[in-house]
C-alpha cells in the first residue's frame, strides 16, 4: 500500500468516527449513562430508552442517512473518474439496493404483520444493514479521498 492510500484510509476512519460521534451523540450519551449506572432509576430509564431507540431503528436510519450523503457526494464527483464513471454509478446503485431492501422488508412487514413490532423483531437484519452501510461509507469515502489526493500534486 502506498502513502496516499494509507493517508486516505486514515482520513476515512477519522471521517467515520467524527460523523458517528456527532450523528449519534444523544444515542451514545444514553448508552454511556446506561453503562455508568449513576443510580438504579437513571440506569433503568437509560436502559429502556437505549432499547427503545434500537428497536425503533434509529441506527438503521442513521446509517441510511450517512450512506445517502456519501452517495450524493460520489454522484457529484463522478466526472473526476472519467472513463470509470460507469463503476461510480454501479457503486451508487449498490447503496440504492440496500435502501430498496430495507424499504421492501418494512413494507412487507407493514402489510402482512398484524403486530406493531416491525424492526424490533429484526436485530440480525438491522445489524446486517448497519454493517453493509458502514462498509459502503468506508469504501466510498476512501475512493473519494484517494481521488482528491491523486489530483493534488503535493
Amino acid at each position: 500500500m502506498d502513502k496516499k492510500t494509507v493517508r486516505s484510509i486514515g482520513k476515512t476512519l477519522l471521517w467515520v468516527a467524527g460523523n458517528t460521534g456527532y450523528g449519534l451523540a444523544p444515542f451514545l450519551f444514553i448508552g454511556f449513562l446506561y453503562l455508568v449506572g449513576i443510580n438504579n432509576k437513571t440506569t433503568r430509564i437509560a436502559k429502556e430508552e437505549f432499547h427503545h431507540l434500537v428497536d425503533d431503528g434509529a441506527l438503521v436510519l442513521f446509517s441510511c442517512a450517512l450512506m445517502g450523503a456519501i452517495a450524493v457526494d460520489l454522484f457529484f464527483a463522478r466526472r473526476k473518474f472519467a472513463d470509470q464513471m460507469a463503476f461510480v454509478i454501479l457503486f451508487i446503485f449498490s447503496s440504492l439496493l440496500v435502501l430498496i431492501t430495507v424499504i421492501t422488508v418494512y413494507l412487507v412487514l407493514l402489510y402482512t404483520d398484524t403486530t406493531h413490532h416491525l424492526f424490533q423483531d429484526l436485530p440480525r437484519f438491522q445489524g446486517l444493514v448497519i454493517g453493509i452501510a458502514g462498509i459502503f461509507c468506508i469504501l466510498a469515502k476512501t475512493i473519494l479521498f484517494l481521488k482528491e489526493d491523486q489530483e493534488d500534486p503535493k
Binding site: 472519467a82 454501479l90 449498490s94 447503496s95 439496493l97 422488508v105 402482512t112 446486517l128 462498509i135 469504501l139
Partner: protein, 45 residues
C-alpha cells in the same frame, strides 16, 4: 419476519455488498491515460 423474506433480504444485501467491492476494485485501479486525457480536455477545453 418470515424465513423466505429474511432469505431474500439477506441475499439482496449480499448482492449489494458484492457490487460494492467489485466497483471499489475497479475504481481503486489507476485510470488509463485515455481517460485522464479526456478529463484534462474537460478541464481545459
Amino acid at each position: 419476519m418470515t424465513t423466505e423474506l429474511e432469505t431474500i433480504a439477506v441475499v439482496s444485501l449480499f448482492i449489494a455488498l458484492a457490487t460494492m467491492f467489485f466497483s471499489f476494485g475497479k475504481l481503486a485501479k489507476p485510470q488509463h491515460s485515455k481517460g485522464l486525457l479526456k478529463q484534462e480536455a474537460r478541464k481545459h477545453p
